[in-house]
């Protein structure tokens, strides 16, 4: 059992799963952190990205990895459209955060239902799948399927890229400022509208890209998104709402629990272990792993 716990195989599994959870949480954190919008349609953006990758591969026979910039652009475009049509005015009204959160919950819920049903109507609910990068690479005792390596690599690059962007660029710091304190950011002269637009574009783009990566290994259906919306919520709450670094940490932590704790106990205990850890951490730190305690 001990040697099995130290195996590269489990490490690889935890890395891939963690990167995915972190990526899914990232998008939700960007949108919530900057605008206090609870994106219940997050998983459905992921689903749209998965369909985009599926149709790209089916119609062009080219790697969906090549289509990632397009998929990201699609996600960003949807985000910007929603921002311009629905949210910009809401946010500019200066309503208290609780009101914005409540309204956004309803808006995104309606959006989620609409996206799912339109997709089901357009493509039928029949599951779709395709085969790509399914060669299995062996490194020592660790076997890795090509599409999972690709998912890990792409997700890893995006996560690293976003962290660098937030820390090193002015725009990234503006996003962080907006997340930290909305009014102060405005006073300091940050163009709040522009930063919000970029945040929602990035958030939706990352969801769509996550979906495209997942489409290589999972079946694609119009209703596949809900599971990832839940996962995203768990990740962002655990990491601290709106805390980007916390979300990434939480994503990997959950994956570690899911892989290693399950190895120690049993697969059946998966939900108890994950949600048990979730509840335990929140009892000890209600603001999440890296969240700031409420004043």
């Amino acid at each position: 059992m001990m040697t099995s716990l130290l195996s590269g195989q489990l490490l690889f599994a935890a890395a891939v799963l963690g990167a995915l959870y972190a990526l899914v949480g990232l998008g939700m954190n960007l949108v919530y952190g900057t605008m206090r919008l609870l994106n219940v349609a997050h998983g459905d953006l992921l689903m749209l990205g998965a369909y985009a990758a599926f149709w790209w591969f089916t119609l062009t026979a080219l790697s969906p990895l090549l289509a990632l910039p397009l998929v990201a652009a699609m996600g960003a475009g949807i985000g910007l459209l929603l921002y311009a049509l629905l949210f910009r005015r809401q946010l500019a009204q200066g309503l208290p955060p609780e009101v914005i959160e409540a309204r956004s919950l309803l808006l995104f819920f309606g959006l989620s239902v609409a996206i799912q049903n339109i997709t089901a109507y357009a493509f039928t609910a029949t599951p779709r799948a395709y085969r790509h990068l399914d060669t299995v690479w062996q490194v020592g005792q660790t076997a890795m399927t090509g599409n999972r390596i690709a998912a890990l690599a792409v997700a890893g690059v995006i996560l690293a890229g976003v962290l660098v962007f937030l820390r090193r660029t002015t725009f990234g710091m503006e996003i962080q400022a907006l997340i930290q304190h909305r009014e102060a950011a405005r006073i300091v002269g940050i163009d709040v509208g522009r930063v919000q637009a970029v945040a929602i574009a990035l958030g939706f783009a990352s969801a769509a890209v996550a979906g495209a990566l997942l489409s290589m290994t999972e079946q694609v259906t119009p209703f596949m998104g809900f599971r990832f919306t839940i996962a995203a919520f768990v990740v962002v709450i655990l990491g601290g709402l709106g805390n980007i670094r916390g979300g990434i940490l939480a994503g990997f932590l959950l994956a570690i629990i899911e892989i290693y704790a399950v190895t120690l106990f049993s697969s059946e205990a998966r939900s108890i272990l994950i949600y048990g850890a979730f509840v335990a951490i929140l009892v000890l730190r209600p603001q999440g792993l890296l969240g700031r305690a409420r004043r």
């Binding site: 489990l10 799948a129 299995v136 079946q219 209703f223 697969s267 059946e268």
Partner: protein, 390 residues
């Protein structure tokens, strides 16, 4: 909520419009059903609804449904039951009492069938079931519902054990989803394997929302079984197949409960899907069933994908049975009930005859993908190819 109903209504209208019937003089026969167009089962339901659509189009193209001598076009009245069995029951009541449909066809799924069985019994309205598979159907009062499937867990267990024993399998590993159908199968499989003298090296359950099976599969690999019996649902079937391949788990035989009969499964795994045994009692390869191949070809031509070897076949069979019963008995419910209960039907799955609620003819069977083609491999009486072991 309103948006959802609007979209469902739009979809329903489009479906009706799609049945572009040639100009026929007589009033249409209105057939009612609900199906899970949204919700948990929405990904599985198209395999059934598409079979219904194909059947109706074929009937109308051939001049209409033969109603005891009179040819009349077929028209569907359908609703989205949102994967909710209680809602399905309500909607069927509406179909019977408010929409006044002439005939009924079944919804998707075991819990839906069981709920609707109560409704059709109350109104004395005969309905041929299809995609229901649980020992619970044996407890349904015979009367107004029938189940053509032979994939019932208390038969699957013993038949699978017999097939494995016959193939010389001595040691198995079992992975089971905690969802009802998998657990019901596990309940009957375990004693059957023990009775056949097959060693169960490991038997583990996993939750339906599992995201990574690596810990489970390293256990399987260490157990070194001759055969792996993965009692999966579609989502985890994909996960299992991909990750088992990654970890190099390649036993002499792999059985997966639900998943490999879906077209997308073959698309996802290609040649790696070959050799996997799964649950189905129909294949277009069976030359003794002349209707089988034409159905397969027509479905592929119409929808651009293979039918689900279990659900689509069952749905189409139930339509054929209804069609043949109506041809002799017309639309009178008592006559129809007697015709279905006592008749012998010629379907894409060969002959079907009911004994109470159950199909007395079709055996519990398994299929195996061989070179991309789904072959019946058990029982020997209807097999189209021998079981291929690694």
């Amino acid at each position: 909520m309103l948006r959802r109903h609007l979209l469902a209504a739009l979809a329903g209208t489009a479906a009706l419009a799609g049945l572009a019937a040639p100009a026929l003089a007589n009033d249409p026969v209105r057939i009612g059903y609900t199906i899970a167009r949204t919700g948990l089962f929405a990904a599985a339901a198209p395999s059934q609804e598409q079979a219904y659509t194909l059947w109706a189009e074929q009937v109308n193209a051939a001049g209409g449904l033969d109603v005891a001598g009179t040819m009349r076009p077929v028209e569907f009245v359908s609703y989205d039951d949102e994967s909710d069995p209680a809602k399905a029951a309500q909607l069927y009541e509406r179909l019977i009492t408010s929409d006044n449909v002439d005939l009924l066809m079944a919804p998707w799924g075991t819990p839906h069938h069981l709920n609707v069985a109560g409704v059709v019994e109350r109104y004395g309205f005969p309905m041929v079931g299809n995609t229901a598979a649980s020992v619970l159907i044996r407890e349904v009062q015979p009367g107004n519902i029938w189940f053509p499937t032979s994939a019932i867990p208390d038969r699957i267990g013993p038949e699978l054990a017999a097939m494995l024993a016959g193939a010389g399998v001595q040691r198995v590993a079992i992975l089971a989803n905690v969802l009802p159908f998998s657990q019901e199968n596990l309940q009957f499989l375990t004693p059957a394997l023990e009775a056949a003298g097959i060693e169960i090296a490991m038997s583990e359950n996993y939750p339906p929302d599992i995201s990574d099976m690596t810990p489970l599969l390293t256990q399987v690999r260490d157990a070194a079984p001759d055969a792996v019996l993965a009692l999966t649902y579609p989502a985890d079937a994909f996960l299992y197949a991909g990750q088992a391949r990654e970890l190099g788990i390649d036993p002499r035989l792999t059985f997966m409960l639900i998943g490999p009969t879906i077209d997308a499964f073959g698309q996802a795994f290609g040649p790696a899907a070959d050799g996997i045994v799964t649950l189905a009692h129909w294949s277009p390869e069976q030359a003794a069933w002349p209707r089988a191949r034409p159905f397969f070809d027509a479905y592929v031509a119409r929808f651009g994908q293979a039918p689900d070897y279990l659900d689509s076949a069952l749905a189409y069979m139930s339509a054929e049975i209804l069609q043949q019963a109506v041809a002799t008995a017309g639309l009178d419910r008592d006559a129809l009930r007697a015709a279905i209960a006592g008749g012998t039907f010629d379907t894409i799955n060969g002959e079907v005859r009911f004994d109470g609620v159950q199909n007395a003819v079709t055996p519990t069977a398994f299929v195996q993908r061989q070179a991309g083609v789904m072959q019946l491999v058990w029982p020997p009486a209807i097999a189209t190819a021998p079981l291929a072991m690694d």
